[in-house]
């Protein structure tokens, strides 16, 4: 029982990172219809930005974190300008390969510039560690991530109801009609990618400090959040924002169950559970949870 409680706690905490990534994936998918494989890499880029500012340039800590977020946003905007916009009339698979290309390019640059030493560490916002009644050590940093997720999700919900947010939702449904009533689809697209990159950046800057990191940290490194983020987004039917948040937490918990004693003999039980979970979701409820109608 205690073991289960620990898994649940860790699952929710790790899941909040996935939720942040999934929010970005869903946001981009709603506006551009692209599976954004660069989403996790926005995070790693922000992480490296923060690392450069805080550790290498010795900037004040919070200014450094801010710099990391700005780097992530700039990367998001550049991705939209240089890759997504030129390819907007191409097939979806071309766009997907384009976003994967962006991720790979950034990973390549990270490998090239930071291969000596390969392993780096960013200081945490708070080094405090709490122990819950049932014995799970929780980093204060993880609680901060959870809080940031709640704030970000709430802010996003408010934003989507504001005029700019409504314009964003309109542009995804009827781009031509939107242009006619004076909404700049271009600007909306830029804004979307900027916000998505900011969400990715938050995930990177916060979760990167949990442990040591290397190039491609959030894509295939220790803190890989790309696949869990995608599963969470699929769970949200690729369109529901609350679904993305809930999906991230659920995926986090499912992944933590892989560490239970009953799976002790199964190598890589977490990866196995994630695959099984994704398959079950696609078989039983392909339109996603928390989504009323099937996707058109």
């Amino acid at each position: 029982m205690e073991e289960l409680a620990i898994a649940l706690t860790f699952g929710v905490l790790q899941g909040s990172v996935y939720s942040l990534v999934a929010l970005g994936i869903v946001l981009v998918y709603r506006v551009s219809g692209v599976f954004n494989f660069a989403q996790a890499e926005f995070g790693t880029t922000g992480l490296f930005g923060a690392y450069i500012a805080v550790v290498l340039w010795e900037w004040p800590f919070y200014l450094g974190l801010l710099f990391g977020l700005v780097v992530a946003i700039v990367m998001g905007l550049l991705t939209e300008r240089l890759v997504i916009h030129p390819l907007r009339n191409q097939s979806k698979v071309t766009l997907l390969v384009g976003t994967a290309g962006v991720a790979l390019t950034v990973i390549g640059i990270q490998f090239w510039q930071f291969n000596d030493p390969l392993i780096r560490q960013l200081p945490k916002i708070s080094d405090a560690v709490y122990v819950t009644p049932f014995g799970a050590p929780i980093m204060a940093q993880q609680l901060i991530t959870l809080a940031v997720l709640i704030v970000a999700a709430a802010a996003l919900a408010v934003f989507l109801k504001s005029p700019a947010g409504l314009a964003m939702q309109a542009a995804q449904q009827e781009p031509v009609a939107c242009e006619l009533v004076g909404v700049s689809v271009r600007r909306v697209s830029m804004m979307t990618w900027g916000i998505a990159a900011l969400l990715g950046g938050l995930a990177g800057v916060l979760s990167g400090a949990y442990t040591i990191f290397t190039a491609g940290f959030l894509t295939f490194g220790v803190g890989k959040a790309l696949l869990p983020g995608f599963i969470a987004a699929v769970l949200a039917g690729m369109k529901s924002m609350p679904g993305a948040v809930a999906g991230g937490l659920v995926v986090g918990i499912v992944e933590q169950f892989g560490g239970l004693k009953m799976f002790g003999d199964v190598p890589g039980a977490s990866a196995l559970l994630l695959l099984v979970f994704l398959v079950v979701v696609l078989l039983l409820r392909p339109q996603g949870l928390l989504v009323r109608k099937a996707t058109a």
């Binding site: 097939s91 790979l104 640059i109 039980a269």
Partner: protein, 370 residues
């Protein structure tokens, strides 16, 4: 008042153009050079280079990568779906083949079709699941499958032999690296032929139609799901063959080889090679195979420059240059390497040398929701 539409200009072959005897001689020389490069140089026949026993394995790998490239080309190029788990398909093919030969004691010639069958089953099942939804869900499902294979499936020591790896002896008659290289070449030719035949059939045309626009294709009575599944299965077969060949080329295979970076490299080489262009895909795969192992950098004597001046270990070159090539290919040269070599290819096939041959005229799809 009606305006007369401009006449549709059909691109007709220049009837007047005949290749002169000198022209045929030139083409013959280039063909001979190509044949010499592919067939003679690797076995040190009439060659000023010395290809060692370890280097010949690099050539075999290049041929195997070409098969993987053709496998992904079926997916990305013909049906517009994409797989990020191809390293798992290739890897399972490799381990199945090694298991059949080493543990069951069967022949290599039986192991190849069994590995190919496993490839087809994997890709088919994953395809069935992901086709529950329209969209590129195959990418996400294969990504999950690749991670599962890497961490879980290949961790089962009974199949993969654990960290130490699994022995996969070469078939009788092909024990030497040089002989094995020609075996790989033969399989490349086989896969090329299968691919070519597939595209000539009704199924091939159906696949191309559904890539252009699934809705229009289905309104013409094409069973979109069935043909997409067929493409997945064919891609899986090719990947299984490649995996089997890879296992016996290395003779000992270790699970760590089949990581996510490899899947990314596979996608890179296929797209940079040029989708729907067999020659381009093969060249792109060969290029990345040599670049990835650091051989290309060595041959051109660039090790000092790359590692000293740029500060990049030579094994990382493909990871850094590849993605930049990929983005350039997508945004500026959608035809990839296949487009770049098209003038030379047409010339070799007995046409006039035309700098503009092979330019991709993609029909712009204005309704992006389709």
């Amino acid at each position: 008042m009606t305006k007369e539409l401009p006449a549709v200009l059909l691109e007709e072959e220049d009837e007047q153009f005949r290749v002169s005897p000198g022209g045929w001689l030139g083409r013959g020389v280039v063909w001979a050079l190509l044949a010499w490069l592919v067939l003679a140089v690797p076995s040190n026949f009439l060659s000023p280079f010395e290809i060692g026993v370890t280097d010949i394995n690099g050539f075999s790998h290049a041929a195997i990568f070409a098969i993987v490239g053709l496998s992904l080309n079926v997916l990305i190029g013909y049906t517009g779906q994409i797989s990020f788990g191809h390293q798992a398909f290739v890897g399972l093919g490799a381990f199945v083949s090694a298991y059949v030969v080493t543990d069951l004691g069967w022949e290599f010639w039986l192991a190849v079709p069994i590995a190919a069958g496993f490839g087809a089953i994997q890709a088919g099942v994953l395809g069935l699941i992901s086709l529950r939804l329209t969209g590129l869900y195959f990418a996400v499902v294969t990504l999950a499958y690749g991670m599962f294979a890497q961490e879980s499936l290949f961790g089962i020591a009974a199949i993969t032999g654990g960290e130490a790896g699994k022995a996969a002896p070469r078939p009788i008659g092909f024990e030497s690296g040089y002989a094995y290289y020609y075996l790989c070449l033969a399989f490349v030719v086989l896969v090329l032929w299968l691919d070519w035949r597939l595209m000539k059939t009704k199924s091939g045309r159906a696949m191309q139609a559904l890539r252009e626009n699934p809705r229009v294709a289905s309104s013409y009575g094409i069973n979109v799901k069935a043909f997409t599944l067929l493409a997945f299965a064919v891609s899986g077969v090719f990947a299984g063959i490649a995996g089997s060949l890879l296992a016996h080329a290395d003779e000992v295979i270790v699970p760590v080889e089949f990581n996510f970076q490899l899947a990314l490299l596979f996608v890179l080489m296929t797209v940079v090679g040029g989708l729907r262009n067999r020659a381009g895909v093969v060249l792109g795969s060969v290029f990345f195979a040599f670049l990835g192992s650091g051989k290309l950098v060595e041959w051109f004597g660039l090790v000092g420059f790359v590692e000293g001046v740029i500060g990049l270990p030579k094994e990382f070159v493909a990871l850094v240059i590849g993605p930049i090539l990929l983005l350039l290919t997508l945004t500026a040269f959608p035809g990839g390497i296949g487009q770049q070599i098209a003038p030379v290819k047409m010339w070799l096939l007995g046409h006039r040398f035309d700098m503009h041959a092979g330019e991709v005229n993609e029909v712009e799809v204005t309704d992006v929701r389709a």
